[in-house]
Symmetry: C2
Subunit: 94 residues, 2 copies
DNA sequence: CTCCTATTTAGATTTTTCTCTAAACAGATT
DNA sequence: AATCTGTTTAGAGAAAAATCTAAATAGGAG
């Protein structure tokens, strides 16, 4: 996992919105496209960036491609930020 | 706090490195510049982006400007990611 | 008040990102 | 095998980001 890829992926509003949608349920690319006011090609581009960051994975069924959130990468980012934040009030200092 | 600004700020390796340095101790702009292989103007630009995102704040002393990490914004980002990640294994489902 | 040191701002350039339309591809259906 | 549906890839253009050098600013120090 490359933090650069993940934070870059998270830095775009369309991509954050896609992730939020995928939190509810997996969706086919076309379903996602339908919810935005941009071309299918553009959504496909955003999905490729999310995929490269490891934030989503796809499963092919019939001629649909379903996208799903990959929580494990989020876990790693959570750890990075947590470490940066450092030891805070509620926690035990060594 | 705008997530766009924060994630954009975190998406650059130089800026992430600056934050990591600031975790240890506050630093003057010049000290930061000394640790990178880019011009002072460039670091100043990165600092302005971190400041805009609320990830750092500055305190002026003599003719130095010291930069410090602002953990509270990290806290908010942590919450956003946590919410996106959703309910996971160890937690109680409602 | 002039000079020095620390830092930022301005302006220009290169690179990267986002978006589009059009074309290609992949898999099912007829 | 021809076609239709869902999606991606290619190529191009516009906008935003990152970097540089040079100039400006701000605050001490002499």
């Amino acid at each position: 996992m490359a933090y650069a890829d993940v934070f870059k992926a998270l830095s775009d509003p369309v991509r954050r919105e896609i992730l939020t949608m995928l939190k509810e349920k997996r969706m086919a690319a076309g379903e996602i496209v339908a919810r935005f006011d941009v071309s299918g090609a553009t959504i496909s581009y955003h999905l490729s960036i999310l995929k490269k960051a490891g934030l989503v994975f796809e499963t092919r069924e019939k001629n649909f491609i379903y996208y799903e959130l990959n929580a494990s990468v989020l876990e790693e980012v959570l750890l990075w930020i947590h470490a940066l934040r450092g030891v805070s009030d509620g926690e035990i200092k060594e």
